[in-house]
Amino acid sequence: MVNSNANAMGILFPNSYDNMVPDLVTERLMASIPFAGRYRMVDFVLSSMVNCGIDNISILVRQNYHSLMDHLGSGREWDLTRKNGGLTIFPPYAEKAVKIYHGRIEALASILNFLKAQREKYVILSDTNIAVNFDFEDLLQKHIESGADVTAAYKKEKLPDAMLRAEGAAKGFYYTVDTDESGRVTNILINPKETDEQNLLMNIYVLDREFLIRTIEKAFMEGFVYFERDILARNLDRIHVQAYEFTGYLARISGLRSYFDENMKLLKDENLDGLFEPNPIYTKIRDDNPTRYINGATAKDVLVADGCVIEGDVENCVLFRGVKIGKGAKVKNCVLMQDTIIEEGAELDHVITDKGVVITEGKKMVGTDTYPSFVAKNKRV
């Protein structure tokens, strides 16, 4: 066979960390949160996989997934409309004895038959709460070279505030790892509270498909729920887990403020390039026209998608597709999701508006840098 594809399939968990951004997921899930002007969170990992020759990708949705299905469609924009493989969305499989899953083990157990029928030697698992241009090819190669059972990607970074402040497991689980000199994981810490730089897992794993099937089958029988907590963390002596350090740019969404900050960070060229280079990120096409700046508009330090019409003043903002800013409106330090309309004379500072929000004429809204105001989807202020 011509070796143009990776010998790996991808599995995404689009609902992971929904709990961290309750405001943003009332009518969607983590994977379909709009990000960086014209994308949804899922686009980044999905495109990265495709760019690395992975063309068999499954998405195990749990709830609130209509927006994601609408976004992904047949998978054509990611070149995933394939006869073999391509994009598969697995909705929860309702059965009398099966409840909606909580952790990865239960989710994977529900698709064991599918997993058994696939041909790729390796499986790559990932969440969608991180926007990243990830080199899965390198990860896979390092995994094969090390001979490990599982390779887990991490980044050296400080734990996000939202994780440090979370009580118990209320916001879900996150993990940091200790490694030996060879990079083998010696310890996995669950929801630690250290405030200095840690090896924080990105929840991106590569492992042998048959190993995954065996492990999940057994763990599910024994009633386990969480892959990291219940399988990896307690079997590090038997399972060789190798750590893979990611040193590139990533945007991790861990709360409304982090959502705001991560969008704003993209106003710096080095961050924008870090996220969108070297490989392209694909997304659903909307066929918007170019953005129009009408006489009297001013714009400074902005990231703007196509389809906007700007007549007012914008500064330090991220504008998604189809945003309209009326005459005399002043918009500063804002993230305005697609089709937001700011009417004439309105003034906004430190505000996030969800999709389709209308801020009516002359209204003023002010949030702060540590607590941006949020206007929910399709609301009229």
């Binding site: 960086a36 694909y282 953005t291 400074k300």
Partner: protein, 402 residues
């Protein structure tokens, strides 16, 4: 399954009056309006009018056009039955031929049309910027019981002699055709868009092909022959925006008109009549702290740190700090380096304008040339390109061209 009407799009024109822009590019593939190519307009019109089968007749420099059209998916023309088909001249048992004229191009593809067994065929031209509902044109054609209809625009009488003119009676029935006459009897200019009953078109194409003296052209041969035979011919009045962008100045002007949809009539912001195009896939555009944008259209992927005024920037254009762009059309991927000045001009795709270089000039003293820099050109630092220049070769640093 028969189709009621299919479209044949003439896209083989060389567009020689666009000079540097069409040296390696068919005219319908010339970029327009920030993220489109000219051919997006007739293709989108087809889809928006309910036509799902389009043959595109190509001949001159078809590579970019072929790649751009691909399987037609961006226009929703990837269909099981029908869809978009690029039709270059091909070899047949009896030999092969380039398309000799517009009528000959259709003649050579009679078998393509017959596959769909249409009642009507609409002939479109691939070099016009126009939003037109072809289904309304067809309604007119059927109501009049016409065998041939042509879309016409009223033009000012003093300009009428530049056009092919249709002389029509009060029922819009065509009585005479004048090709660029000295003494116009009508001000109804043909837009080069025709609807034929397929049986009639086929008959006249075969007849025309058999005539060795024919130029095989719709305007010069087919239409006069229809008139000669007293066929039922009607003129359909179109009053929307229409622009033939066959020259540098008309292409520049049409782009500038996009910036003023309220007055110029071309509105790309029309959700009911979207113009589709193949997407650049770039991320949103960025304007930095030192950037200034005034009355312009900016497309995904642009990075602006300089000053942009009354201009159209295509996907991925960079304007560095201290650079100034005014009244300009800057096509995809071009870079305007620091301190450069780009005015009243067309910069084609992937051009680099070096530091402190000057391209074009604002109109002065009756001088209103549109400087044009061809695709992939490198204009060196401190070079100066005059307002009438047509740049087809790289320009060395400091060089002056008029």
């Amino acid at each position: 399954m028969a189709k009621e009407m299919i479209a044949m799009l003439l896209a083989g024109g060389q567009g020689s009056r666009l000079y540097a822009l069409t040296q390696k590019l068919a005219k319908p593939a010339v970029p327009f309006g920030g993220k489109y190519r000219i051919i997006d307009f007739p293709l989108s019109n087809c889809v928006n009018s309910g036509i799902d089968t389009v043959g595109i007749l190509t001949q001159y420099q078809p590579l970019v056009l072929n790649e751009y059209i691909g399987n037609g998916q961006p226009w929703d023309l990837d269909r099981l039955h029908g869809g978009v088909h690029v039709l270059p001249p091909y070899q047949q048992a009896s030999g092969s031929d380039w398309y000799k004229g517009t009528a000959n191009a259709i003649y050579q593809n009679i078998s393509f049309i017959e596959r769909y067994n249409p009642q009507y065929v609409i002939i479109l031209s691939g070099d016009q910027i126009c939003k037109q509902d072809y289904s309304d044109f067809l309604r007119f054609h059927k109501e009049k019981g016409a065998e041939f209809s042509v879309a016409v625009m009223e033009v000012p009488w003093d300009e009428a002699s530049r056009f092919g003119l249709m002389v029509a009676d009060e029922n819009d029935k065509i009585t005479e055709f004048q090709e660029k006459p000295k003494n116009p009897k009508s001000n109804l200019a043909s837009m080069g868009i025709y609807i034929f009953n397929w049986d009639i078109l086929k008959k006249y194409l075969i007849e025309d092909e058999a005539d060795p003296n024919s130029e095989n052209d719709f305007g010069n041969n087919i239409i006069p022959n229809l008139l000669r035979d007293g066929r039922s011919m009607y003129a359909y009045h179109f009053s929307g925006y229409w622009k033939d962008v066959g020259t540098i100045s008309s292409l520049w002007e049409a782009n500038m008109e996009v910036l003023d949809p309220e007055h110029s009539g071309i509105n790309l912001f029309d959700d009911d009549w979207k113009i589709y195009s193949r997407n650049s896939g770039m991320t949103g555009h960025k304007i930095t702290g030192s950037g200034r944008v005034e009355n312009s259209m900016i497309t995904d992927g642009c990075r602006i740190s300089g000053e942009v005024k009354h201009s159209i920037l295509f996907a991925g254009v960079q304007v560095e700090e201290g650079a100034r762009v005014e009244d300009a059309v800057v096509m995809g991927g071009s870079v305007i380096k620091a301190g450069a000045v780009v005015e009243h001009c067309i910069i084609a795709e992937n051009v680099v304008v070096g530091e402190n270089a000057v391209v074009g000039a604002m109109p002065a003293d009756g001088e209103k040339g549109v400087a044009t820099v061809g695709p992939g050109i490198y204009v060196g630092d401190n070079a100066k390109i005059g307002p009438n220049a047509m740049v087809k070769e790289n320009v060395k640093g400091g060089e002056v061209q008029w």
